[in-house]
Amino acid sequence: MQNAILRKSHLNDFISKLAVIEKVMAPVAKGPNHYAFEEVKSAKEISLQYIPTILPPKKYFMPQHETLLEYDTREGQKMHAVAEVEKMVLFGVHTCDLAGIQCLNIVFSDRPKDLNYLIHKNKIAIIGFECNNYCDEHASCALMGNHIPKGGYDMFFTDLGDYFFIHVNTQLGEELLDKTGVYEEAKIEHMNALEDLRAKKKEIFKNEVDVDKNMIPEYFKKGFDSAVWDDLGERCISCGNCTNVCPTCYCFDVYDDPDLGAKTGKRIRVWDSCQNEPFARVAGGESFRSQRKDRKRHRFNRKFRYPVERYGKFFCTGCGRCTRVCMAKINLKDTIKSLAKEYK
């Protein structure tokens, strides 16, 4: 089956049945205007009207701390790879975050393949959720084309009043939906309602920066020495918030954690950030980005220019998290606008 509907009054039934089959992670309110993905057992714990969570779902695909391998040097050099995985279903993932996961999929499938990431991905089912309206003024999803679904999910829910429209995309999605047994057939009037919503969204979601997306890489290339970066460099305090909350940032550090006696131990991967001072330092002490302006420029280029050149894809999803969370109130949309103005 490709489409189905779920009455809102049955949502709790759906979630609780799903929670028995698999662990369900959904957005939960953490405080005024703050949300995070956490395990839930019932629908009332979920906040479906949510602005992007503090951390994106990438925390499930690439955990903040992850053991990669264990080693034992007591008799020779023994190492064995470790993958600490658990099966789960992510419920309520916005289209911007779906796009983020798709970016990470590309990166980690590139050579050398990152098996830890891929094994996690294999065990995670995704149920997306449509935004009928902007979350707030910081989003730039229309610019990136991520305000409508473009795949990357097993099921996709759209809120159409007193029911959800479900688009079933994969066999896994179909199996899960079947197991819950809580759904109804989608009829023509439901499909029409969905089309109406999509038409309405075309009027709501418009390019937030008034810049042609396809010209952005060019502006970034030309603007390599722009004063825009100097300004950002002055304001940035290198708190690292932007990279941590970004759905497509994936830089990491690897370190060894020996046991007492230093004969056995683990190798651990942890999130890192190009915004950290020591990140671009190499052996010998030389740093390629010791200035904050260099680091800020690097980050933006990693979203708007380098991946376009390499993969043909923008790595900004338009979720707005970096702007929301920046302590120095550096604004992504303003930055693009300023750069475009200089080089249009």
Binding site: G31, S238, N244, D257, P258, L260, E277, A328
Partner: protein, 246 residues
């Protein structure tokens, strides 16, 4: 192979960091299997007048007698680990440097002031060479154990040089600035896993400042959140006053 001889010493401190070691539970016994603790005044009566492999120091240097003592200990030890904010950055003892020595001695001890020898508070590395620093008030046990392992293996340990915000975000806390209160996290070194913010309180900066804080940028941040700069600078003085001693 003989186990390395390790001795614990303390100066002007609250002894909380030593207690953190005692609070490791049965893991302490695992540690005691790989090291030989030859002196630890708080829990042992044994004393060790010769040299040892590792000296672990808690507390700041605040009297001339202490200066002599730490130099003597340094001469007898191959490796010196300073642990706790008092030892690594002066800690709260540094606040004394906000005042004229004469004034503060008289305030506390009145006419007996001259019995109390005191000099401006200094961190241990401001008096002798330190090989490893375990920052924090109190120390964060996982970090202490990592450094101990590094010291035993003869490997270097670098105290993280990025802000507490990094770990705080990883723990998915709500930023306290968003709640209208100021936090020293953005300019304080990480490594404590944002211990205090995880528990709802602000970061007080006990691990010392990052090496290259953007002080102007930070002041602008405060203004944007409508928090007076004086308040924060005063707060940074709580642990970081000894930075001013060159």
């Amino acid at each position: 192979m003989t186990k390395p001889k390790v001795a614990f010493f303390d100066f002007a401190c609250c002894e909380g960091c030593q207690l953190q070691v005692a609070n490791l539970g049965e893991a302490l016994l695992d540690i005691l299997e790989v090291i030989d603790v030859v002196e630890f005044r708080e829990v042992m009566s044994e004393k060790w007048p010769q040299s040892f492999d590792i000296a672990i120091i808690e507390g700041s240097i605040t009297t001339s007698h202490a200066v002599e003592r730490i130099k003597e200990i340094r001469a007898r030890s191959k490796v010196l680990i300073a642990y706790g904010s008092c030892a690594t950055i002066g800690g709260v003892n540094g606040m004394k440097n906000n005042y004229e020595l004469k004034d503060i001695r008289e305030y506390v001890y009145k006419d007996k002031a001259e019995f109390f020898d005191t000099i401006p508070t200094r961190a241990v590395h401001q008096v002798v060479n330190v090989d490893y620093s375990v920052n924090g008030c109190p120390i964060y046990p996982p970090e202490f154990i990592r450094i101990l392992k590094a010291a035993l293996a003869g490997l270097p340990y670098h105290v993280p040089d990025n802000s507490v915000c990094v770990e705080c975000k990883l723990n998915e806390n709500i930023c306290l600035f968003e709640r209208g209160i100021s936090c020293a996290g953005p300019i304080t070194r990480s490594g404590c896993n944002s211990w205090c913010v995880n528990n709802g309180n602000i970061c007080y900066g006990c691990r010392g400042m990052v090496s290259n804080p953007n002080e102007n940028g930070f002041k602008a941040v405060l203004e944007k959140y409508d928090i007076t700069v004086d308040m924060i600078m005063n707060k940074m003085n709580m642990y970081n006053k000894c930075r001013e001693i060159k």
